[in-house]
Amino acid sequence: MRLEPIPNPTLGRRLGPPAAALGVTVLFAMALAWVAGADPLAVLGLIVKGAVGSKFALLETLNRATPLIFTGLAVAVAFRAKLWNIGAEAQLYLGAVVTVLLGTGALSWPAPALLPVLGLAAALAGALTLLGPAWAKTRLGVDEVVTTLLLNFIVLLFVSYLLEGPMKDPMGMGWPKSRRLIAEARLPRIVEGLRLHWGFALALIAAVLVWLVQTRTTFGYAMRAVGHNARAARFAGIPVTSVTLATALLSGSLAGLAGFSEVAGLKGNLTLDLSPGFGYTGIIVAMLALLHPLGVVVAALFVAGIFVGADSMSRAAEVPSYIADMLLASALLLVVLALPFTRFRLRWR
């Protein structure tokens, strides 16, 4: 048995194996449902229905996809430049902290002035959160996987301290939560009456912008060059260290925007359960999207749909919603396993 490279894979060859992997994932999900004692086809139908079956379901899925698009983009941008940012969770939370700090009355400006400032501040907070590990990587050779991952726990404990102490809502009946944002600091809904906020539109715009930056600008070219072959990039005169730091700033600010969008668009205040692991799920999203910025949108919708659909299904069919986590985990593993087959063919000799 051996792998044989395919010189010039066709589009079908490149998309076929990941699609097959997703198909196997669906079969796996049905098997899980059967083990849980439910009718597999019915469970599948309930998941789909719960994700996109009604206007309410669809809007719920889009809302859930919004932070995943941001964190997915953050991861995709960084991974493309071989900067292993596992810390989108921390960057998201610090973005949210800054949004709350400035948006609960510290700045009492009209919405058109306040919202951009909040967004930029949140992006900056996320960017600076990643800048530290990136600096340590370029200057001291410290592995950013370790530093960004551990920063997640530090930041979460720090936020916990803030919510129990300085940022605690005095009117919060003792709950660890922040005060609510002032009305001018809330992202309005895209269409009045529909539960979908401008954060979703912002996420789509961000995806298109990141795509344009990667494909049309010298900075995007430099990021890709550093990611594919840093030694050749350095030889060709691309300043590898600066590019890595700039990539960190871009990646961190995208994750910071996820925090801004969640607080200002959906929750209105900061609690410790603001993110059920959006930062980590962003890694799955980015990998499923093969690190393509527009693919991130599709992957985020897919992942959000599974979460939302599984929640709704578990209420109806009494199958635990953990099935969503198992589904995503197997989807990721199978897609990663399938990727080599987009470029190689298996030969039994």
């Binding site: 010298t218 070219y221 060059a225 030694r231 350095r234 030889f235």
Partner: protein, 514 residues
């Protein structure tokens, strides 16, 4: 010779050995015999299938079809251990020695019982000393391998094979890393070995070595055995034709009058990196319209010198001047803008980005500036036009400008690198191993282009470990040894033998440029 060898017993019989890699037929029904006490040379260009064949003999690969017999017994495929036990020893191009162990420990490693590793030290030592005396393989058994020269390491590899009772020794490009003197010593060893009844397969692409050492020559081309000649009955001309399949003349530069000094290094020092030497106060002047060849054994500071000229490193001490000016800052970009065209030593790791297209690779060194980009935005149309021009002008065979460059052969990759460097009319060219690993057609092409650039007035530094190439191409030759530079020698002033002495480090102490 063929007739004489026929009387001796056959020790190795290769029959109809075939091996495919995808669409590539690396070995196509290869059949030959090796007799006791003879040296058979396997000659062929890079990619002709020599190394594949040897890896099949030694059990690293399995053949798709065909058999290998050693001393009349079939060799089970795919088992290096079986090959070793049958008496086949192999010395690879890249040595497989543990640097922190002594010579003796390296030789014995793997032959002793795991439970009592030092049980037969004394006997082993006596055996190694006898082997090294019998075959002229001078090396101290207690020396640490890390401290040995390349030539000595090769002797350890050969001793390792002999210690395991090898009766058939396969040497893969053994002279590639040696000075001419070390190569002579190796040949003496090989002659001693065949005199004692051992047999040798000698893989090479250097004609004069093959003619000097072998009894018989097998020529491989595109995976097929295209010729078998008794060495005494053939010559370089015929072998070259068999190897290439056509007459390809390598260019011979005519003498050229040099101009002003375009690049000058004075007293340049750099830190050593790992095992490779740094520069130790080096003076060098590159003149317009002149190819300066840098000869030397690998790891003697070539990499450090190339890094300084390419802008990757700044001198720790000493100065670098471009056309009489000391540049304010020194970086790869500064070097590119100072008009230095750079051909890196490793075209895969340093010269190109494998997953980038030809277009993206062609613009790599100037991607942020016009005509490729304005205000941070890339003009893909202009980049593509440039790539198309390089592809056409430099005869880059490829599926097109949008194909990833990893699909290209080494020669075509090198032509793209050459084109992207030359297209902007560099005044100074750093050509680091520009033809290593290329087939002879590509070699001729790259060399012609470099000579044309010289005739147009460029100052060229040619770095190579191949002394023949240096002697053929250079107007002036320096030898580098342990980070020091010999005085300049004019074309033809020194023989290969004399240059070899400089390469081995002789002549540097107290020797003025006389």
């Amino acid at each position: 010779m063929t007739a004489g060898a026929g009387a001796r017993p056959v020790v190795l019989r290769v029959a109809e050995v075939t091996r495919r890699f995808g669409d590539l037929l690396a070995n196509d029904a290869i059949t030959f015999d090796l007799h006791q006490g003879e040296v058979v040379a396997l000659l062929g260009e890079n990619g002709a299938g020599k190394t594949t064949l040897m890896n099949i003999l030694f059990g690293h690969y399995t053949a798709d079809a065909g058999t290998v017999e050693v001393f009349g017994r079939p060799l089970p495929p795919g088992q290096p251990r079986a090959a070793l036990e049958a008496g086949v020893g192999m010395v690879h191009q890249h040595f497989t020695l543990a640097e922190n162990l002594t010579v003796l420990e390296n030789i014995v490693l793997g032959t002793e019982s795991l439970w009592r590793p030092l049980a037969r030290q004394a006997a082993a030592r006596a055996r190694v000393e006898r082997l090294s005396r019998d075959f002229g393989l001078a090396v101290h058994p207690d020396a640490r391998v890390g401290a040995l020269s390349v030539g000595e390491r090769q002797r350890v590899e050969i001793l390792k094979a002999l210690y395991r009772d090898a009766r058939i020794l396969i040497l893969d490009e053994p002279t590639a890393v040696l000075t001419p003197q070390e190569a002579e010593a190796l040949f003496a060893t090989l002659r001693a070995m065949v005199a004692q009844g051992l047999s040798v397969i000698f893989i090479s692409h250097k004609m004069h070595e093959v003619l000097a050492i072998s009894n018989r020559v097998l020529v491989l081309r595109h995976g097929r055995l295209v010729g078998e000649r008794a060495t005494a009955e053939t010559g370089a001309q015929e072998l070259a034709r068999l190897m290439v399949g056509a007459d390809i003349a390598l260019p011979e530069p005519r003498a050229h009058s040099p101009g002003a000094v375009l690049l000058r290094l004075s007293g340049v020092k750099t830190e050593p990196r790992g095992r490779t030497a740094g520069l130790r106060g080096l003076d060098l002047a590159l003149r317009a319209g002149q190819i300066t060849g840098l000869a030397g054994v690998s790891g003697n500071g070539q990499a450090a010198l190339a890094a300084v000229i390419a802008g990757l490193d700044a001198p720790v001490e000493g100065t670098l001047e471009i056309a009489g000016q000391v540049p304010a800052a020194w970086s790869p970009r500064a070097a590119i803008h100072a008009g230095i065209g750079r051909i890196p030593e490793d075209r895969h790791a340093e010269g190109t980005i494998a997953d980038f297209t030809l277009t993206e690779n062609a613009m790599l060194e100037r991607m942020a500036e016009p005509p490729f980009a304005r205000a941070g935005l890339i003009d893909w149309a202009a980049a593509r036009r440039f790539a198309e021009r390089v592809i056409a002008d430099y005869d880059v065979r490829c599926p097109g400008p949008d194909a990833p460059i990893r699909l290209l052969s080494g020669g075509n990759m090198q032509k793209l690198i050459l084109g992207r460097a030359l297209e902007f009319g560099p005044r100074i060219i750093l050509a680091n191993q520009p033809v290593r690993g290329l087939d002879i057609g590509a070699v001729a092409y790259v060399q012609r282009r470099l000579i044309a650039a010289r005739d147009a007035g460029a100052a060229i530094l040619l770095i190579s470990e191949d002394l023949d190439e240096i002697q053929a191409m250079s107007d002036v030759i320096h030898v580098i040894s342990e980070g020091r530079l010999s005085p300049p020698f004019a074309r033809g002033e020194k023989t290969a033998h004399e240059l070899g002495q400089w390469m081995a480090g002789h002549g540097f102490e107290g020797a003025d440029a006389a």
